[in-house]
């Protein structure tokens, strides 16, 4: 399938710096790649690897300054792009090379209808305007699978779901049947099942138009499922390049190997088991018939319209156990967490913790409860006050709960906690923004541990992290559980992550529990249709699917 002899785009020796007060930061260092018609090239790398910058350079999307294209050539269909004047360059963008982005909500202009934004592509390249452009836009929307395109063409981006928005972006990109489509992390923010649909769409379109596809991703499974060829980037450099199957089956570079080993494999035997070893029989938390209604609108005549975010959920967690709650966005899993932490009020139901209903607690009792249950949040950037030093962040529970620790011992204990989570005592003087995402999540765990809890609720605690870091943080959590006898409620959208960590798994959809069971049982024989979909939605390597 690859047609390396006649690439449509050939990038050679691309080097991009970002300038500031310090030494220039080299984002992309001597990167070369090429792609041919009908071929899919995947650029794989973790955050900060320079994978997006290299394609932005091809699209002329880098502002210079502060960007600085130090060297490199981009030969597109025989034309050197870097030497073109603005007008000529513009005629290539959108018409011959198109691009889609990670977060379509941000990348679509919020104040214009999608129809207008699609029609704009035709208008600015002289390919139709007015009614004709609109008709074409409707056709495109139909092609990318937007239902009722005739009416949805006049909707604004925020009126679509995440997957539909990405479809709109794709429609806009393929409007003029470009030679190359660059897809920058197109499925990262989407649920697994939606991700599969979008990837299918991209594959179909590529088959139809014969365009070259450059796909940027950090997700090894996505990469494997799409790539003909693959280049792996790390620290701005290409560390490995080759035919996808070869790279995956026989990685040459140490970094690639590390990435692939961090992957939570479908095959249970390969990865270390991080499940609990000792689970006491004692029930720590028992949730009964938990329900949360949100009032959508209340009019004088219409009456209340309510939406059940959590619908009659019951489960229990035993001491030393890890319960995984899995569900896609809108499944109600986070609402459960917030109610357990007392951040939101439930509409009805009970949650008995150590013999007492959480929702009826107040005053002293509630304070005592808050010591025993802690939370680790999804976003390690947002869950810490950016103006507070690490010392203040970790010691805050002691300020609130005066009886935990005398002030004289705080410093020592902060150092202990930092070491416990794999950081250094001297980090206590720094601010959150001086740490990487994984390190911040360790700090969040240290803070959670500060009040000596019995249960930690982790809400998507590793979802925002790079794959290799995810594994490290889960290792840490597993290790702490063993050492401190903790229990976890581990909430995630990513089924594979909990496979080796959770003892039991509960799958949620639309506020209800659809399936619950021991992890191994659930993975081996998913009973519910939805669980099966989730498991199957995990992308399969292209070479396997094509072979099969």
């Amino acid at each position: 399938m690859s047609n390396a002899s006649n690439p449509i785009l050939k990038v050679a020796g691309l080097t991009v710096d970002f300038l500031s007060d310090d030494e220039p930061v080299r984002a992309v260092d001597d990167v070369s790649f090429h792609v041919s018609r009908g071929e899919t090239l995947v650029i794989l790398g973790e955050s900060g690897s320079g994978k997006s910058v290299s394609t932005s350079a091809v699209m002329d999307l880098i502002d210079c300054p502060p960007g600085d294209i130090v060297a490199g050539s981009c030969l597109f269909d025989g034309v050197e792009l870097s030497g073109l004047d603005a007008e000529a360059r513009r005629s290539i963008n959108g018409r011959r090379i198109a691009m889609i982005f990670q977060d379509p909500l941000a990348y679509l202009n919020p104040v214009y209808t999608v129809g207008r934004q699609i029609a704009e592509v035709y208008e600015s390249h002289g390919a139709g305007s007015g009614k004709a452009a609109r008709a074409k836009a409707i056709e495109l929307l139909r092609r990318v699978g937007i239902p009722e395109p005739e009416s949805r063409v006049d909707f604004y981006p925020h009126q679509f779901s995440g997957g539909q928005r990405q479809r709109v972006m794709i429609a806009m990109a393929i409007a003029l049947k470009p030679d190359i489509l660059i897809a920058d992390e197109p499925t990262t923010a989407l649920d697994v099942s939606v991700q599969a649909q979008i990837l299918d769409l991209l594959r179909d379109l590529q088959r139809e138009t014969g365009m070259a596809l450059i796909m940027i991703t950090h997700d090894l499974e996505v990469a494997a499922s799409m790539a003909d060829r693959i280049i792996v980037m790390n620290g701005g450099k290409v560390v490995e390049t080759g035919i996808a199957e070869e790279v995956f089956s026989n990685p040459q570079h140490a970094y690639t190997r590390r990435l692939i080993s961090a992957l939570p494999h479908g095959d249970a035997t390969e990865a270390p088991n991080r499940r609990s070893t000792k689970i006491a029989g004692e029930t720590l938390l028992k949730v009964e018939n938990l329900t949360k209604d949100y009032v959508l609108a209340s009019g004088a005549f219409a009456g209340k319209r309510t939406f059940k975010a959590v619908d009659d959920v019951s489960f229990e967690v035993r001491r030393g156990e890890t319960l995984g709650i899995v569900g896609e966005s809108g499944s109600g899993k986070s609402s459960v967490a917030r109610m357990l932490l007392g951040l939101n009020e439930p509409s009805s139901g009970k949650a008995v913790f150590a013999g007492e209903n959480i929702f009826e607690m107040n005053g002293k009792r509630l304070m005592a409860f808050r010591r025993k249950v802690q939370m680790v949040f999804q976003d390690p950037y947002g869950s810490m006050n950016p103006r507070m030093r690490i010392y203040s962040i970790i010691s805050e529970p002691w300020v609130i709960h005066r009886d935990i620790l005398p002030k004289s011992k705080w410093k020592g204990r902060v150092a202990e906690l930092l070491e416990l989570v794999g950081l250094l005592p001297e980090h206590a003087d720094r601010y959150p923004h001086q740490f990487s995402g994984g390190q911040r999540q360790r700090i969040a765990i240290a803070r959670a541990l500060a009040s000596e809890p019995e249960l930690i609720v982790c809400d998507e605690a590793v979802s925002a992290l790079d794959v290799s870091i995810q594994a490290q943080v889960i290792d840490l959590l597993a290790d702490l559980r063993t050492r401190l006898g903790l229990s976890y409620v581990f909430i995630t959208h990513d089924l594979p992550i909990v496979r080796h960590f959770a003892d039991r798994i509960m799958v949620m959809k639309n506020g209800r529990i659809v399936e619950e069971g021991q992890t191994s049982t659930l993975f081996a024989a998913p009973r519910h249709e939805y669980t099966q979909t989730l498991l199957q939605a995990v992308p399969k390597p292209k070479w396997l699917t094509q072979a099969g």
């Binding site: 710096d17 300038l19 500031s20 007060d21 310090d22 030494e23 220039p24 080299r26 300054p65 502060p66 600085d68 130090v70 060297a71 917030r338 932490l341 007392g342 951040l343 509630l366 304070m367 808050r370 010591r371 802690q374 939370m375 949040f377 999804q378 976003d379 947002g382 869950s383 810490m384 006050n385 950016p386 103006r387 507070m388 805050e396 529970p397 300020v399 609130i400 709960h401 794999g422 950081l423 250094l424 980090h427 720094r430 001086q434 740490f435 990487s436 994984g438 390190q439 360790r442 969040a444 803070r447 009040s451 490290q472 290792d475 840490l476 290790d479």
Partner: protein
């Protein structure tokens, strides 16, 4: 388990003095503004000591003395006012009242407005609604009427002038603080603190207020300029600072009748006001650029790599 150390060196924080100074030198206009403001502040602090009582000593024989003549001494270089007092000396002494009043008014309105805004934004109790209605009322309450009421009931004094100016500017801070809080209280670190059991007071003071403050400080720079101008408008209407106290605004207002015959009486203080407010605006623009990670590079050295 691997120990992961943070990146070798923390990035240059745009808070450290040396970095800020470097950014300042790269924007010549901002540098000039900063130097001018520094001089004005120095004059305000040292002024009375520098010129002694020259600013209030009568010189009826030097009435409306024209500027740029050194015959009567250097202090008369900018001319003399209607009572023959040297304008230069009055500018220097007037800086103290002008800046003092503006600073006190801005600080007071930021403090009160900010606090009320924090409360109104965080809580949804009845008093939050009351605060918002109160803000509405203050917004549509004519500042002139307030000035007169205060002038009449409390008497003419600098403190009372500060009260008037502070009250009229307060809603800006209140609304801004509230809007910020509405957004901040949904942030995860606030949820985290709540989950830990932190009381509302602690969350507001420890977690939300420090993040609202920079926005309020940015507004206050522009507001400082507004307050100086409002104060001079009050003087124009006779409701501002009352003799024998004076500010630049009052100097312009009193000298305005002489613009056709002795322009310097109103010109110099007008220029002082203009340069001061202009400098403040320029500096706050500069500060915005510094604070914006997207724009900060404009103030950086941008040394390119060797090719």
């Amino acid at each position: 388990m691997t120990i992961i150390t943070p990146d070798t060196k923390p990035a240059a924080v745009p808070g450290s003095g040396r970095v800020l100074l470097a950014y300042l030198t790269r924007d010549k206009l901002a540098l000039a503004a900063a130097i001018f403001l520094a001089i004005v502040v120095l004059a305000a602090i040292l002024g009375p000591w520098l010129v002694g009582d020259a600013a209030s000593r009568l010189g009826l024989r030097q009435r409306n003395l024209a500027p740029f003549s050194l015959e009567s001494g250097w202090i008369y270089v900018l001319g003399a006012d209607t009572l023959g007092r040297p304008i230069l000396a009055r500018l220097i002494v007037g800086a103290q009242n002008t800046l003092g009043i503006a600073a006190a008014a801005v600080f007071a309105s930021m403090l009160v407005g900010g606090t009320l805004g924090l409360v109104a934004g965080y809580s949804e109790r009845w008093y939050s609604h009351l605060i918002m209605r109160l803000a509405d009322i203050v917004m549509s309450f004519p500042s002139l009427l307030l000035a007169l009421i205060v002038l009449y009931t409390l008497g003419p004094s600098i403190t009372n002038l500060v009260i008037v100016l502070a009250v009229t500017r307060m809603p800006i801070y209140l609304r801004t603080a509230r809007a910020e809080v509405l957004e901040l209280r949904e942030r995860m670190f606030v949820s985290a603190a709540m989950a830990m059991g932190a009381k509302p007071a602690r969350i507001i003071i420890r977690h939300i207020a420090p993040l609202v403050l920079p926005t309020l400080v940015t507004i206050s720079a522009i507001d400082f300029a507004t307050v100086i101008l409002s104060e001079s408008a009050l003087s124009f209407l006779g409701l501002g600072i009352q003799p024998p106290d004076f500010t630049w605004g009052a100097m312009v207002a009193n000298g305005r009748g002489y613009l056709a015959t002795a322009w310097w009486i109103a010109f110099w203080p007008g220029l002082a006001i203009m340069l001061t407010t202009l400098s403040l605006n320029i500096l706050s623009n500069w500060a915005r650029t510094v604070a914006d990670p997207q724009q900060r590079w404009r103030l950086q050295k941008l040394r390119k790599a060797a090719r």
